[in-house]
């Protein structure tokens, strides 16, 4: 009990603490009271209103669940569906896990510090729910588990905490989407995620953000990868948002651990994105790669990347390519830190303004004016099924922008 009280205490102390980067948000402007929703059985999921279904599809959800190993679906503050169809994979709402499973305390707030800033503090003080997804040792999942955090209530601050555990030798794929009701304008999302990739486990985590024009979003996440583990962290955001700031951190804590971050960001006018990735390479043989592709499209994008090589025999690469299209601002801020001889670290950043002349030139090669095909990053190491899913999400979002 002692440690639970201590968490609360530290959170209270940090509840006014501004984040190191990103515009400060006054969280008092948002409602936090629980919003009840009816639980949805499998068949209810398939009978959602068309417009809601569209939002979910664009966030990577498969409401038929046919090609999904499990589903977690939270609307506003309430879990409306949670279940798994695959042996060896557990999906549990975090509130229930905190009540029923002692082991969750070995993970809860163990990587992200509760007093990092006012957003982490809020996640402890105003927690609504969130998911715990765990692949048991040696289990290999075929289909990804899907998780969706959906906002419907105007003016709500949705506060979630997620924990993802890939036990030794397991293979787990997660596709997680955040979406808002087509009618929602203003809201906030605060989400904590802690990832544990154990020895020789493989975790792919693909996050699709599908927000609204007046949303503020503050995810906070940290991952720890043990020896021989692989963590693929993919991020896709092609929709407007008022302000989104996140700087996920990964610790490669065991020999030969690998982390790869791939992000695709397409801005929108009036939207601000401050998106980074930081990877600590702490053991020999570790590898890290951060690849970001952005198109400003009138939005304001900051792409940060930070690689820290602490020992010899590591290899890390940081790459950011940004295009300024239809105005907007694009800043790439790459940082490399090597502490010893024998680190192999590189970075490549390019920000380009694409003029009408260049667009016309590409069009004369057959490209559509708003085709973002050349933005495609080939994300390695994903199962075909998941790749198709990402392509579909990008395509759906592309069409929607027309």
């Amino acid at each position: 009990m002692h440690s639970i009280d201590e968490l609360k205490e530290r959170a209270e102390k940090a509840s006014g603490k501004k984040a190191l980067i990103g515009p400060d948000i006054n969280l008092d402007e948002f409602e936090k009271a629980p919003v009840p929703h009816k639980y949805l059985a499998d068949e209810d999921l398939c009978a959602l209103p068309e417009e809601e279904e569209q939002e979910l599809i664009m966030a990577g959800m498969d409401i038929t669940q046919k090609e999904r190993g499990g589903t977690y679906f939270q609307k506003d503050t309430t879990v409306v569906h949670c279940g798994t169809k695959q042996e060896g994979v557990e999906v549990i709402p975090i509130r229930r896990a905190l009540e029923e499973h002692e082991w969750i305390r070995d993970y809860y707030w163990k990587l992200v510090k509760v007093d990092t800033d006012k957003y982490t503090a809020a996640a402890e003080l105003d927690l609504h729910d969130g998911y715990v997804i765990r692949a048991l040792p040696g289990s290999k999942s075929v289909y990804p588990v899907q998780a969706c955090l959906y906002l419907e209530k105007e003016g709500l601050q949705q506060t979630v905490h997620n924990i993802i555990i890939a036990e030794e030798d397991s293979e787990l794929h997660i596709i997680t989407g955040c979406a808002t009701s087509p009618h929602l304008k203003k809201g906030a999302h605060v989400g904590i995620s802690e990832f544990f990739v154990k020895k020789n486990a493989k975790l792919s985590f693909t996050m699709i953000h599908n927000w609204a024009e007046d949303m503020v979003v503050r995810p906070r996440s940290v991952a720890r990868v043990e020896a021989g583990g692989l963590f693929l962290n993919n991020y896709i955001c092609m929709k407007p948002v008022k302000s989104l700031q996140m700087y996920p951190v990964t610790h490669l804590a065991g020999e030969d651990a690998v982390a790869r971050f791939y992000s695709i960001i397409v801005g929108s006018p009036g939207s601000e994105y401050d998106i980074g990735g930081r990877i600590f390479l702490k053991k020999p043989g570790t590898r890290a790669e951060i690849v970001t592709r952005t198109i400003s499209n009138g939005g304001d994008i900051i792409a940060r990347g930070h690689l820290i090589g602490e020992v010899a025999g590591i290899k890390a690469h940081l790459e950011c390519k940004g295009l300024i299209l239809n105005g907007g601002i694009m800043r790439a801020i790459p940082e490399l830190e090597g502490y010893v001889d024998g680190v192999e670290m590189s970075h490549e950043a390019a920000v380009g303004k694409i003029a009408q002349e260049e667009i016309s030139y590409l069009m004369s090669r057959g490209l559509d004016e708003d085709d973002r095909g050349f933005l495609n990053v080939d994300i390695p190491g994903l199962p075909e099924q998941l790749k198709a899913e990402i392509d579909r999400a990008i395509e759906a979002s592309d069409k929607d922008m027309m």
Binding site: A350, E358, S364, G366, L367, F374
Partner: protein, 253 residues
């Protein structure tokens, strides 16, 4: 085929092309001559569909489709391609990627690049720091991948050194189905060759060097925004060489 009818084009407030009538039949290649500033590039850009070249009168048909109002990419998809004199640099896009875009992911990029000695440039951003000759090879490579039916070449030999001129010339001949070996061996008569050929070309040239590799069917002279004569390209070139453009246009008319 390409059919242009009484075309008048403005750029800004200025009339730059007047009463242009032009027909390029299936399999035909025309050479386009004219002094600097006469509107040659403007004509190509208008055919390609650049919106700043405003068509104020007349029509352009390609493959029997009225393309006068079509956006650039739809003209490209219909089979029109262009090799630019001064294409823009595109930061953040590799040459390999633009060739893939041209070939709709269905071409063997390496093999094509090998044919114009361009393998070493594939990872560089499009046109970034390319020399004159490299730009031309990059443009031709993109056209090869695109496999257009009507190809517009804007001064393909300008800025190309002696060593590369043959490569550029032969590549264009290949694109226009006019390279000797491939066609001559199989098809005996000139007549037959013409029937087999489907590709159309319009080549802007000052020097005429390119005609040593590509025997154009017709020559056109653009003078002060007007197409002033149609004749044998070699004859035109001789005439221009002897008397200059102004005299030449007068004598033929």
């Amino acid at each position: 085929m390409l059919h242009i009818e009484d075309l008048q084009v403005e750029l800004g407030e200025k009339v730059i092309l007047k009463h242009i009538d032009l027909d390029i039949k299936i399999g035909e290649t025309h050479a386009l001559f004219g002094p600097n500033g006469s509107g040659k590039t403007s004509l190509l850009m208008t055919i390609m569909g650049y919106p700043q070249y405003k068509v104020v009168r007349g029509k352009i048909f390609f493959k029997d489709v009225d393309i006068t109002e079509l956006p650039i990419n739809e003209r490209a998809q219909l089979g029109i391609g262009m090799s630019y004199q001064r294409p823009p640099t595109i930061d953040g896009l590799k040459t390999r990627q633009i060739v893939q875009i041209c070939g709709k992911d269905k071409v063997d990029v390496e093999a094509l690049a090998g044919r114009v000695n361009f393998l070493d440039f594939m990872e560089r951003d499009v046109n970034a720091g390319f020399s004159g000759g490299e730009i031309k090879r990059s443009e031709l490579l993109q056209l090869m991948a695109q496999d257009a039916d009507l190809m517009l070449f804007d001064e393909p030999e300008s800025g190309v050194d002696i060593e590369n001129i043959a490569l550029v010339g032969e590549t264009i001949a290949g694109l226009l189905q006019r390279n000797g070996e491939q066609y001559e061996q199989k098809i005996k008569t000139k007549m037959q060759r013409k029937i087999e050929r489907t590709k159309m070309g319009l080549i802007i040239t000052h020097t005429g060097y390119i005609l040593d590799y590509v025997a154009a069917d017709k020559g056109q002279v653009l003078f002060d925004g007007m197409l002033s004569c149609v004749s044998n390209p070699v004859e035109i070139l001789k005439c221009i060489g002897k008397t200059g453009y102004e005299e030449c246009v007068r004598c033929i008319v």
